[in-house]
Symmetry: C2
Subunit: 336 residues, 2 copies
């Protein structure tokens, strides 16, 4: 397969992206090709610096870059030769089988939706991200692709995330939870109540019920479904809070360097156990292709893992399984 990576996207691009591609190249089977997308001169320069043989990668030249804070759709339209734009077009022309970017998330999602289109039967793509918890990973979908969400979208996120959790994380019959503000049936807004009915109507979904924010980390759910607005706020609140807590601990340890040294080992162990970089990035489920969205802060190891994840996603034919699963589902949109 041919895996394209946006060499210019992310806080540490292009150095860490290219380093990650090199790491992936070492473990990836020979028949798989990695395509670096970005300014050819800059990419070659970095490859030389990393002492890479020039023919390890194909390069698609894209002289423009969409900045992390630029308006997604407008930038895509204006910068026709941006790395994200060129990458999405390459996917739509079947020149590549998977696309990966740590750049502007909105532009990447918009580019993929626009160019790759949706899978047969899918109403809206959703971003599925994996949270590490004490008792294994939880897949949260959607974390920001779709902010005008209907019950049928949430229902399809559940189906797609289950296939994802089964195939990518090896979880059989994943326990599905619907994010809500209380566990009782009667709780929640119209979107949640109608989605609940759809989830219950599909006997192939192992639907456990509503859950509250705090339950995400309890290990009672393998898949958690919510609209993109809520999921995005959850994801970013979690990031901000983790950061605040560890900075608070660091502040306290400032004047106790012996303790700080010992505690560093403790932290290293915790990082290992709760390492979300291992999952490589978030899958944009429901697009007609393989699209991985990495965090802007991604370094080489995450990029390597994203490349390996895209290969696994493609080889396991997850999209074919999603189409099959949706075609067998008796749940009909019914104006929802």
């Amino acid at each position: 397969m041919r895996i394209a990576i946006d060499a210019m996207g992310g806080d540490h691009a292009p150095a860490e992206i290219i380093a990650g591609a090199l790491e992936a190249r070492e473990v990836l089977k020979d028949e798989n090709e990695i395509v670096l997308i970005g300014d050819e001169g800059v990419i070659r320069e970095h490859l030389e610096r990393l002492k890479s043989t020039p023919d390890l990668f194909r390069i698609f030249h894209a002289p423009e870059v969409i900045g992390m804070d630029e308006p997604p759709v407008e930038s895509l339209r204006r910068k026709k030769r941006s790395s994200i734009g060129v990458m999405a077009r390459a996917a739509s022309h079947r020149q590549v089988d998977a696309v990966i970017s740590a750049g502007n998330t909105g532009a990447c999602v918009a580019g993929c939706q626009l160019r790759m289109r949706t899978l047969e039967g899918v109403h809206r793509p959703g971003i599925a991200t994996v949270f590490p918890t004490r008792s294994g990973p939880v897949t949260l979908c959607d974390v920001g692709a779709n902010i005008v969400c209907k019950p049928i979208h949430l229902y399809q996120y559940a189906v797609m995330s289950c296939v994802y959790a089964e195939e990518m994380l090896g979880i059989s019959s994943p326990r599905v939870g619907l994010m809500n503000i209380g566990e009782e049936d009667a709780k929640g807004n119209e979107l949640v109540k109608k989605t609940r009915a759809l989830l219950k109507a599909d006997s192939r979904i192992n639907f456990v019920g509503n859950l509250e924010g705090r339950d995400i980390f309890e290990g009672a759910y393998d898949v958690v479904i919510c609209e993109g607005f809520v999921g995005n706020v959850v994801l970013k609140t979690a990031e901000g809070l983790v950061d605040m807590i560890f900075r608070a601990i660091k502040d306290e340890l400032m004047d106790h360097w012996m303790l700080a040294l010992q505690f560093k080992k403790v932290m290293t162990n915790i990082y290992k156990k709760y390492d979300y970089n291992e999952y490589g990035g978030a899958l944009l489920l429901g697009v007609n292709g393989t699209a991985v969205i990495c965090h802007g802060s991604s370094k080489a190891r995450t990029i390597k893992n994203a490349i390996l994840a895209s290969e696994k996603f493609y080889m396991r034919k997850i999209n074919e399984k999603i189409i099959e699963r949706l075609s067998q589902s008796g749940v009909v949109p019914n104006g929802q």
Copy 2:
């Protein structure tokens, strides 16, 4: 003033609630009365056990209790003599000036809304909770009172939360942020975009702009506004995550008891700096009265602080200031 407290509500009721009332009694001025609401026999028994003089408190007898997981509105209707029901009625008859409960949040909010009604000019009450951050407290509103939210509701939450932050937390000209999934103007759903226009139209609001989940903890905002569904998920995600992180650290320290002992001191310092129990509970802003909602896990100290907070809220005439502020606002609902 007369402060009523639901003696039967919360995970540690009635023991910790009554203990908290006793602690508050010691610091509260003599002219203020604390009213304990619940089963009179049970309350007297606990007061005796705590060696309290029987006439320190008034007691309103309420033989029924609404359980933490019972459906709010239905239970209120069925259990006419529940502590929350009796308390809300006492407030509506002006027998008490403030109500406090650590019991079923939904029932407490519903009871207060139903019996106390809303303040003049207020469309929907909202729950304002305070988050400790590295650089001071942030007031988040709404965290679950209102899940069918219109722009005018969010706008009014901003006005009410600003008065709250000014009067209760001593923050002048609070910096207001609107929770969104990106900082740019164009980002977000219709609710957020329309609210943004209302907030910008009121020059008395120090509106900074949109913020993302991670920014809550950065100290750039004093007031953060969001719909109840989102706020509730944020609050509970934060609770669950803090819990998971500290359990993870504890797990790691299991086999290092010397390090664990030293680290405990570090944690005690952090708890002191980031102690949300100090704020005593969340204010239900916009009801015609003073209503404090405490966490189900509240212990005596939190209850004491909630009682003191209700006194401060009442004495500072925050409701009068909210009415005044809203009446001067040029922002008209306009079908929103």
